[in-house]
Amino acid sequence: MSGPVVRIENLSVSFATDAGTVRAVDDVSLQVGAGEVLAVVGESGSGKTVTSKTILGLLPSTATTRGAVVLTSKDGSSEHDVVSLRGGALRQVRGRDAAMVFQEPSTALNPVFTVGWQIIEGLRAHRKLGRQAARAAAIDILRRVGIPDPEHRIDQYPHEFSGGQKQRIVIAQALVLDPGVIVADEPTTALDVTVQAEILDLLRRCRDEFGTAIVLITHNMGVVADLADRVAVMYQGEIVEQAPVRQLFSAPAHEYTRRLLDAVPRIGTGTAHAEARAAARPADWAASTPVVEAADLEIVYPGRFRRPGFRAVDGVSLAIRPGEVLGLVGESGSGKTTIGRAIAGLTPVSGGSLRVLGTEMNGVRERTFRPIRRRIGFVFQDPATSFNPLLTIAQCVAEPLIVHGRARTVDEARSTVDDLLESVQLPRSYGDRFPHELSGGQRQRASLARALALDPELLIADEPTSALDVSVQARVLELFAELQESLGFACLFISHDLAVVDLLADRIAVLHHGRLVEEGTGAQVLGAPREDYTRRLLASLPVPDPAEQERRREEWRALA
């Protein structure tokens, strides 16, 4: 192997923000060898995205950079320090020596030009190429990244492709220039887990077939284990550890790396816990009236102008008994969130039956349902938007108490609010803060406090941790389990992450395109899945263990 294709030396980057100057990257040095996959791992604010953007000189003008980022062209003939390059020289390096794959394929493609046009544009920016030759090259690259019927589809617009296909096209745009290194910034974060597996496979082929080195920016340890050769762990702008992938997972050297790895939920850890809970239940428990019972539940979003509506939930039957946690898993568009919303009375039921705490939701009136609401708590996905930005945390948490007459004013409710905050391990003084003054994890705890204010019998948690960093997620999940244990509410836990669901749920239900695919205990569904879809879902999920993941990859290939 020749020398490194990327050499980052003592890189520091600062940003001017409204709150003053912030140092995002602090004295970082990295090297990426030819044909190597280097994963840069970190949580939000670690500086990994900023580092990756520096490689192509894509930082905004509010950034100040010090240090060097040296790119070597693929044939080794030239070297450039991107930090000092400007204008035309920088443009030549971009795309030719290093190319980028973005997180959101839907925004990385210009909606008003065909995909072929966009691929050819990159080609022609670097090479003198005739119209025919450029088109042929574009068709060829589309075929190689796995777009079927490229001769025809080259003339289509981005919106005519699925999310996974769009990401393939973005990768094709990078590959067609035959760069020495591809910087992939969270390339699978916006995608479903089954699509993620395909994209990771494609990136692996980029390295194997094109000899391209990859700088993989990610927060997902499973993705790292699947693809990386070497790993650099970033924390608060610094690299705390660099190691070959197997060594990093088997013997993490830095304290932060260990914490990070410990925080990653792993499939199978919840099984014993669930079995113990099941064993502790009284014998007649199975006969008790379910808190939620759906029979042939059907939810259709009406179409406009007499067009057929969208059938989000189609003939789903399930039950949640008192004190039980049901995990609902599925990919985007599976209808999992819709079911949660229907139980909370946010989305009308259009067919079948859904009984919530003894009330039939099909055709229910808000007036009838309002008294029931005090017995239901709801935790929303995005902690950033689930609080009114103009009210303090105490005002928000006190709201259910005031609405249901437990207190007349916020001050009157304050002692209860303080207790609630304490129970979710937030200091009392946080009640006087505004939502934006809290971190994501803290906001989600406050959200939990609000949901539990009236001591509900049923809690609906809609992806409560998917917007959080993995270490924060671990703490919130732990807190969640403790509270569930002590308060004993029944819970519908909705998530796209099998491992998270496994950690908490007594039983797991798998949804696919609005239908219930499989339901059972964690041991049944995850240990011995009966349905093909569940198997595929399970096999697509990368686990944070390189050796194990290699084995699972073969399984996944066999299924696909």
């Binding site: 390096v93 971009r94 190319a99 925004t107 544009e121 990159g122 617009y157 919106h159």
Partner: protein, 362 residues
């Protein structure tokens, strides 16, 4: 002036049509969008009718005080203005449907004839103004976006704001004062000199669009004369709209320049100037086109004022004449006509926007 000075990205563009998803396609969209003109025009016609009648009948308004009471009553009866208002309304709608807008009180001409005679002049002025607006507004908007937050940008933005902070009639008066009165480079008022007008009137079937008529005479002097008369009104009216365009292009191009696909193209080594021209400009064009539709309303209002300033004998000039004469039949006719033109042009613009945007959103 309409609200076009608001940021197009924060103001929701009139989504008269429902958000259309795939299926049905463009043809269906155009049909639905076309049908939506009907309630719009109906509401406007109704509102204007009842508002104008709320003050009393047009004859009293025009003749009030000058005629003895019995003669006035006789005239009102003859014109049918003493019947119940709803009867008059239904009759008015019927007449309107047949294309009859009544007869002016001050000079006893059919309103439709007034519209066809003077409409062409307004059309011609609006056309010149749009050309000025496009030629000035769009390139300068791109320049401002390119030099974002640098001195050229600041100067251009102040220029844009000054453009629409200046009432067209004041801009017109200033231009007249400087270029016509002080420097004597261009004519003070009118659409053409008397000699040219006579020459054009001698054509068989003059179109009323002076530039076309002047070209048809084949006389270069007449063409030059007509164009000279158009320069100042076109600039006065065009700059107003140019200011809006400039700002709109700048805001939208800056918005799209910050989008993911521009960064993606930049990461492939595409030139900055090309990013601006291709990637940022075209997606930015969609909201711009929509706002251009709303500009038609602004342009017509501006035309009314500009025509008065420059004695450009178009609908606006006539409108202010009829307003002075308190001839509300004529005023109502012209107002309704202009409203219909605005509704139609909004429709056309929505269709163009749907054609530019390949997403099957429409």
């Amino acid at each position: 002036m309409t609200s076009t000075t608001l940021d197009p990205t924060t103001v929701d563009v009139p989504k008269s049509g429902p958000p259309k998803r795939s299926g049905g396609g463009l043809g269906r969209y155009i049909l639905i969008r076309f049908l939506l003109i009907i309630p719009t025009v109906f509401i406007l016609v109704t509102t204007v009718f009842f508002l104008m009648r709320a003050t009393g009948d047009p004859i009293t308004a025009a003749q009030g005080g000058r005629l003895p009471a019995d003669q006035l009553a006789e005239r009102i009866h003859a014109a049918g203005y003493d019947r119940p208002i709803l009867t008059q309304y239904v009759e008015y709608l019927g007449d309107l449907f047949r294309g009859d807008l009544g007869t002016t009180l001050s000079d006893s001409r059919p309103v439709t004839e007034v519209l066809t005679t003077f409409g062409t002049a307004t059309l011609e002025l609006a056309f010149y103004a749009l050309i000025v607006a496009f030629l000035v507004g769009i390139p300068l908007g791109l320049v401002a976006a390119y030099f974002r937050d640098k001195v050229p940008d600041a100067l251009l933005r102040v220029f844009a704001i000054a453009c629409y902070a200046t009432p067209v009639f004041f801009a017109g008066l200033l231009l007249k004062l400087i270029f016509a009165v002080q420097l004597d480079w261009l004519p003070v008022a009118g659409r053409a000199s008397n000699r040219s007008e006579l020459a054009m009137r001698r054509l068989d079937h003059p179109t009323g669009i002076y530039l076309i008529d002047a070209l048809r005479t084949g006389n270069g002097e007449i063409v030059a004369d007509v164009l000279q008369h158009a320069v100042l009104p076109a600039i006065a009216l065009g700059l107003l709209t140019a200011g809006v365009f400039l700002r709109l292009v700048r805001t939208n191009v800056i918005g799209t320049l910050g989008s993911g696909y521009v960064e993606a193209a930049r990461s492939r080594g595409v030139r900055e100037s090309r990013l601006l021209r291709k990637h940022a400009y075209r997606p930015a064009l969609i909201p711009i086109i929509t706002v251009v539709g709303m500009q038609v309303a602004m342009l017509l209002v501006g035309a009314v004022l500009t025509e008065t300033t420059f004695e450009w004998r178009g609908l606006g000039f006539q409108l202010s004449q009829y307003l002075q004469a308190r001839d509300f039949v004529a005023v109502q006719g012209i107002v309704v006509m202009l409203a219909i033109v605005v509704a139609l042009s909004n429709f056309v613009v929505d269709v163009i926007a749907a054609l530019i945007d390949p997403r099957v959103r429409y």
